[in-house]
């Protein structure tokens, strides 16, 4: 092998790499928060809505989970453009990621909701809790706590999948890498650096979710047991 590795050629670009990392984090953070909110609402609708609502949400989840993210991104980006609305690449990227991760979140949270024992609901009724109180204290919070590890994995995958948005040239780490490698002709080195950055990012995201979990789930922190 006669190839000379030259990582030093990439040194002048460290600012752009850092910016790429930041943009990827930002993109995935927005998609995660919105996806969690919408996904949880869908899960509530799917477990307690009218039959029509249930069916519609189920159909949406199935369609999203059985088509590639890349195609969803193309549809949002190019598809909406043909309707006459022009979206920036980044807006389309966030929108597509949210549409995608909402479906997965819905499925995960629904599993959590279904795992809540019926006796818990009866107990809540006996205690005279209102419908909203029951949903919040007895159903949602324990449900989310129970599926929190699955949600964490899903959101790490989302962060990695956000790299696909580089295909519509949204600004994030992979897009930055594509640009740097065409500037320097150091393709292999560039993608090694970016690969390492993604691995570090996924560790950071995982640890971040772990700490956030400790902060939010008081019961778990105090008792040290999972639900």
């Amino acid at each position: 092998m006669s190839y000379q590795f030259d990582f030093l050629a990439l040194l002048p670009y460290w600012r752009e790499f850092a910016l790429g990392v930041w943009l990827t984090l930002e993109l995935s953070a927005i998609a995660t928060v919105l996806g969690f909110v919408f996904g949880t609402l869908c899960a509530i609708g799917r477990s307690g809505g009218s039959p029509a609502v249930k069916w519609a949400i189920a159909a949406y989840v199935e369609v999203i989970r059985n088509t590639p993210l890349l195609v969803q991104i193309f549809l949002v980006y190019f598809g909406i453009a043909t309707l006459g609305v022009h979206l920036s690449a980044n807006f389309a990227a966030v929108a597509a990621l949210v549409v995608n991760v909402t479906a997965y979140t819905c499925e995960i949270v629904r599993a959590g909701i279904e795992s809540i024992h019926k006796a818990q609901l009866e107990a809540a009724e006996c205690l005279g809790l209102s419908r909203a109180q029951t949903y919040w204290h007895v159903i949602l919070r324990p449900a989310v706590e129970r599926v929190y590890p699955a949600l964490t994995s899903q959101y790490v995958l989302l962060m990695l999948a956000s790299s696909i948005t580089s295909q519509i040239s949204a600004e994030e780490l992979t897009a930055v890498a594509n640009r740097i490698q065409s500037d320097t002709f150091r393709s292999f080195e560039t993608y090694i650096v970016v690969g390492v950055l993604y691995i570090l990012l996924s560790m950071v995201v995982r640890i971040g979710f772990g700490l956030f979990g400790l902060l939010v789930f008081v019961r778990r922190r105090k008792l040290g047991t999972s639900l």
């Binding site: 199935e62 369609v63 590639p68 195609v71 043909t82 309707l83 696909i164 890498a177 393709s187 993608y191």
Partner: protein, 217 residues
């Protein structure tokens, strides 16, 4: 202005076959490699276990897109000038699938109750016999639903093979789009193709899971 015609549909159908072909290659390759990694992951040797764990972490921590770029440019560095797209795509997806399948299967193998391992040892079965006669037959039952579920992920992720120049469904859609520019129609049809491949797999995975739960009760 040309519009979407049957010719385009035929082109997409051929591309769908390539998608299926690539998925099958990735599943078989990833399955063989992943099984090896899963075995290494539970091997008695600590070095092997750590190596397998690092491999899984590396594969699961990098986006498939980056993995494909690395292979595409990496093989060129090794001195092969023109890498056939199918080779680069197959290699990338095989590595990707092996990382995830290894972790799924490790979980399934380890979820076989400990007493089964101990009983096999009491009966003086060799390590090989214990694995092939006692543990794996039980683990395969547990592993089938998530494995079928992961096939869906493989099919969907073949859409990224376009970055190394492989023409499959998504890339075919893009090619047609550059000629007739009807993105909405084209990508909806592309999505339908993917759905038709993935949905039966998802349904199958779920029904397998249901059957397993019933018999395990």
């Amino acid at each position: 202005m040309p519009t979407f015609t049957l010719v385009h549909l035929e082109y997409l159908s051929w591309a769908a076959l390539w998608t299926i072909g690539l998925s099958v290659i990735a599943f078989i390759g990833g399955g063989i490699l992943g099984f090896g990694v899963a075995m290494a992951r539970i091997a008695p040797s600590r070095v092997l276990r750590t190596a397998a764990m690092v491999y899984i972490q590396l594969v699961q921590g990098t986006p498939l897109l980056i993995l494909l770029f690395l292979i595409y440019f990496g093989v060129a560095i090794l001195g092969f000038n023109q890498v056939p797209a199918i080779l680069a795509a197959s290699l990338g997806l095989t590595i990707y699938a092996s990382g995830f399948l290894a972790e799924i299967w490790r979980g399934c193998i380890q979820s076989v109750p400990k007493t089964q391992w101990e009983a096999a040892e009491c009966l003086a079965l060799t390590r090989w016999q214990r694995m092939t006669r006692v543990i794996l037959p039980q683990a395969i039952r547990i592993a089938t639903p998530p494995t079928v579920g992961f096939m869906v992920q493989i099919v969907k992720n073949t859409s990224l093979a376009s970055v190394v120049g492989f023409i499959e469904l998504a890339q075919a859609g893009k090619i047609i789009n550059t000629s007739i520019y009807e993105p909405f129609t084209i990508f909806v049809i592309v999505a339908i193709f993917y759905f038709l491949i993935c949905f039966p797999l998802s349904t199958w995975s779920r029904s397998l899971e249901r059957k397993l739960n019933v018999s395990g009760r």
